[in-house]
């Protein structure tokens, strides 16, 4: 019994543990897969005529795009009603399983004594020259999330990316590293001291990998983003796929996400001891949500503009 | 080892290559059973083309026919003609041992291993390759390779043996000794053989008859001695050895003589009206100045071991080269007498293009094509 999941990498969001739990509880083998959201979407579209995957895990905007391409299919998992509206497609073409909040993942040691930055504005200071990294907004979903976050924080909207553009242009003076894929390891090694990244990565580094890492929610505010899953249209092992989807939303599955520091979509599933390891709720108050449908629509125009203007 | 002996007939065979080059003009040739015929000529004259046509490695232009033992083989590919070939590069199979090379044709024919061993052993003995059975071609000397190539070619008991410059790849000293060895081997095998070369000494040493070729045709065919002594064309004379060109003034032509260093030599009847004649270096006698002999001065003396070569300057003639015995005492600067036996003079005339080859032994010509 096998189900293929696109974009379920062992090292991201602790999918490794999740996949083992799926195997143990449902008997279904899900091989790990290291695509990112974009790669998964492209693959799904390419394989539309004869899909390989049964389920997929995507950043929310990619799920909306996948829906448009018609490569996903409606399915309402067992815990459907526990998922807040706005965090799921009404028909069930996609639904959130957990979410993360974008902020600064800071390797304090790598700062070599400099203060931990607290705000978007701090990052523009010359003292952080060479220490900052962010994922390519034109290439990685996390990168785009960072752009939307700074844009919202500095007064922009999904119709007006001017503040983000100005910010990235200014940031270039600090010679940032702009990788195209998750760079968790590079922060740990100190190659990147400050990375625009999710809270769960920072907590993992801090608590699991015992690194001297801090997570900062910038004072001007940020956004939280849902990560969603979908059943692939005409999935070859649809039955197994559905079982997988049910499991990741089950109490047990949700608890596993929480232990990996991903905020489970079913709020009740968050264990108290884990909650304590997060930043206080007051900090999280600065994390907004946005209209993810419009965020998806705006992505192309933003990427083109970013590629043209930020050099 | 006794081999079948058959005659080979080439009847009006020509070859035009795909790019339009006329590799061979229409040619007719008869080879006697058991005869060794040499195809001799300068580079590009069509020797290889003719040999490959006989082998079946090229197909002739329409109209040409090739008969082996009276039987038409024109349409048969080389695999089925029963020829043995020795290539200039030997084309030994590099990955096979000497034994395996020689036995290749037998294995192809499905000869039993024991029988193959026996026959290969016999050939190894014949070609004196004993002790080298397990070596590979790369480990052999040029002469040894040549013998393996020959043994491989005759192992399949071909009806005709074809050799394309089998000695060309060897150095001068080795060539000379292998030449005699090959001649002996061919005589011992007594097989109909056609041997391509551009070395006249090699041709004369190995072959019963020589066919001298030029520009895609056979210009003269016959025994080496005849061709050397009485070439019917200056081309043949020049090709078979060094020659001196002797000029005749119009007056000398009228008088039927040849002037050289003041002496007057009677011209043989046949070349009476030619304005130039040829003579070979060894046919110029050189002695002390004496009555009736021409006068000449030695310009250069070159000791060559078995003979001495003198460059002579005689009145009324371009510089002459004479080969004299190695004890000749004449030195550069000496005045000497020279004499030429009239019978040694040869024609310097070039035959008209496209003339039929002059044949000493006339080949049977059932249907010679127009050249």
């Amino acid at each position: 019994q096998t189900a293929i999941c696109y974009n379920c990498p062992t090292e991201w969001a602790d999918w490794g543990t999740q996949l083992r739990a799926i195997k143990a509880k449902t008997g279904i083998t899900v091989p790990p897969d290291n695509k990112n959201s974009g790669q998964a979407l492209a693959q799904l579209v390419a394989e539309k005529a004869s899909p390989v995957a049964d389920v997929t895990y995507l950043g929310v905007t990619f799920a909306i795009q996948a829906q448009k391409e018609g490569v996903v299919e409606a399915y309402k998992p067992a815990a459907w009603k526990d998922i807040p509206d706005g965090l799921k497609d009404p028909a069930g073409q996609w639904f959130t399983i957990h979410s993360g909040t974008l902020g600064f993942m800071v390797n304090v040691d790598a700062l070599r004594g400099k203060p931990v930055p607290k705000s978007w504005a701090d990052l523009l200071k010359p003292e952080y020259k060479g220490l900052i990294g962010y994922l390519d907004p034109a290439s990685a979903f996390v990168g785009y999330v960072g752009a939307v976050a700074v844009n919202e924080a500095r007064g922009g909207t999904l119709d007006n990316f001017e503040p983000a553009m100005t910010y990235f242009k200014a940031l270039q003076k600090n010679e940032p590293i702009v990788p195209k894929q998750t760079s968790y390891a590079r922060v740990l090694s100190g190659e990147i001291a400050i990375l625009l990244d999710y809270d769960f990565n920072a907590y993992r580094a801090k608590y699991k990998d015992k690194a001297n890492v801090e997570f900062v929610i910038p004072s001007e505010g940020t956004i939280a983003v849902p990560y969603v899953m979908s059943l692939v249209a005409r999935a070859p092992h649809a039955a197994e796929g559905k079982k997988v989807l049910d499991f990741v939303l089950s109490d047990e599955g949700q608890a596993l996400w929480a232990k990996a520091y991903l905020r489970p979509v079913r709020a009740g599933a968050m264990p108290k001891d884990v909650e304590a390891q997060f930043l206080p709720a007051a900090e999280y108050a600065r994390a907004k949500t946005v209209d993810y449908g419009r965020m998806a629509q705006a992505q192309r125009a933003f990427s083109d503009r970013y590629l043209k203007e930020v050099r | 080892m006794e081999l079948e002996r058959i005659p080979v007939d080439v009847l009006g065979v020509a070859k035009t290559y795909a790019d339009g080059t006329r590799g061979l003009q229409p040619t007719t040739l008869h080879v006697e059973p058991g005869e060794v015929l040499a195809l001799l000529g300068p580079s590009g004259c069509g020797k290889t083309t003719l040999l490959r046509l006989i082998a079946g490695l090229e197909s002739p232009d329409a109209g040409g026919r090739i008969l082996f033992g009276g039987q038409e083989v024109t349409q048969r590919p080389v695999e089925q003609r029963g020829v043995g070939m020795v290539f200039q590069s030997y084309a030994l199979f590099p990955q096979m041992t000497v034994e395996a090379n020689i036995g290749y044709g037998l294995r192809i024919r499905g000869v039993a291993a024991a029988e193959e061993r026996r026959q290969v052993g016999e050939l190894i003995e014949l070609t004196r390759l004993g002790g080298l059975e397990k070596k590979r071609p790369a480990e052999l000397s040029g002469g040894q390779r040549q013998r393996v190539a020959l043994a491989r070619a005759v192992a399949v008991r071909p009806r005709v043996l074809l050799l394309d410059e089998p000695l060309a790849a060897l150095d001068a000293k080795l060539k000379e000794s292998l030449r005699d060895e090959l001649a002996e081997l061919l005589r011992r095998l007594h097989i109909t053989a056609i041997h391509v070369t551009h070395d006249q000494q090699e041709a004369m040493a190995i072959a019963d008859r020589l066919a001298v070729m030029s520009a895609g045709r056979i210009v003269q065919i016959g025994h080496g001695e005849t061709l050397y002594r009485s070439p019917q064309h200056s081309f043949v004379a020049e090709f078979l050895g060094r020659v001196n060109r002797l000029e005749r003034t119009p007056e000398a032509v009228r008088q039927g003589v040849l002037h050289i260093g003041g002496a007057c030599i009677d011209c043989p009847m046949a070349w009476r009206d030619h304005d130039a004649l040829l003579v070979r270096p060894e046919d110029i006698e050189v002695g002390p100045p004496q009555a009736g002999w021409g006068e000449a001065r030695v310009e250069q003396r070159t000791f060559l071991g078995d003979r001495v070569q003198l460059r002579l300057r005689a009145e009324g003639q371009p510089p002459l080269v004479a080969d004299v015995g190695r004890d000749s005492a004449f030195r550069a600067g000496d005045s000497v007498g020279i004499r030429i036996e009239p019978a040694r003079l040869m024609s310097a005339a070039r035959p008209p293009e496209g003339a039929r080859p002059a044949a000493e032994v006339a080949p049977m010509n059932p249907q010679e094509s127009a050249a």
Binding site: Q65, L307, K308 | -
Partner: protein
């Protein structure tokens, strides 16, 4: 001797060719033709995207410039090393040569990472710099890093090719030049360069082709300098825009193939 058209049965050569031809037709030519038709669905001007969109054009020109620079640098360095290795005997030479050519089998990802190990913030050069009290020198993410990584995967091919070519060089030509009084520089100009010209052309073409198409390296380094394979990748993964990706691929393929074709046309075979 000119190529002899040895008499083969008419069907023989086609029969030898058939398996490869069928395979190639089925698994490359037909699928790719179908791909080539994709952009047409979005209007024929999609084929010209690389010319009409300034961003794609810039990306293409940048890639061309980078590949060209890398090719030239690799040829010079590869020739020097190849010639040295062919000329000089020393213990461990075979080992060194095989280590130097080993990266031929490396995926581009590894190479990108190597450059980070060398020139990243934690890299060897930065550490050395810091040890000598200088600031931490980083070059991995800039143009220099990209250039060096391309150099890294290009050098092995050039070294192997030049070592073989230098092995076959006619030593007498060089000695002739020297006996006539030529200096080392003259020998290089008058003997080495002409003698290695076919190798240089062939090797240069394949290096250029490889550089144009290199993806994994640029992907790992992710410098701001966007090469065309990355542009294709972005179109492909971010928007699943296959038509545009195909159009850019065609443009890249044409440029690369043209270079390979020219090299072969001038008598040097890059894939040999």
């Amino acid at each position: 001797m000119k190529a002899a058209a040895t008499t083969h049965p008419r069907w023989l050569l086609p029969a030898c060719l058939a398996p490869a031809a069928v395979f190639f037709l089925a698994f490359w030519l037909l699928p790719v033709l179908r791909l080539v038709a994709l952009p047409a669905a979005q209007g024929w001007q999609t084929y010209l995207a690389v010319l009409t969109d300034s961003r794609y054009l810039a990306s293409m020109l940048d890639t061309l410039a980078l590949s060209l620079a890398v090719t030239v640098a690799t040829l010079v360095l590869g020739a020097a090393v190849g010639i040295y290795l062919a000329r000089h005997a020393f213990p461990g030479k075979r080992l060194l040569l095989s280590l130097l050519t080993l990266p031929l089998s490396f995926p581009g990802v590894i190479i990108g990472f190597f450059v980070i190990l060398l020139g990243g913030r934690q890299g060897l050069v930065a550490d050395l710099g810091a040890a000598f009290g200088l600031e931490r020198i980083t070059f991995a993410y800039g143009l220099l890093g990209l250039f060096l990584s391309y150099l890294y995967f290009s050098l092995p091919r050039a070294i192997a090719t030049y070592a073989a070519a230098a092995e076959a060089m006619n030593l007498q030509l060089e000695e002739a030049a020297r006996s006539l009084g030529a200096s080392r520089l003259r020998v290089m100009r008058d003997v080495w360069v002409p003698e290695l010209a076919p190798t240089t052309l062939a090797c240069g073409a394949i290096l250029f082709a490889t550089s144009m198409g290199a993806f994994g390296t640029a992907f790992t380094l992710a410098s701001k300098f966007e090469v065309i394979p990355i542009t294709i990748y972005n179109e492909f993964t971010n928007y699943a825009n296959f038509a545009l990706a195909a159009s850019l691929s065609i443009a890249l393929g044409l440029v690369t193939w043209a270079v390979l074709f020219m090299a072969r046309h001038f008598g040097a075979d890059p894939t040999r």
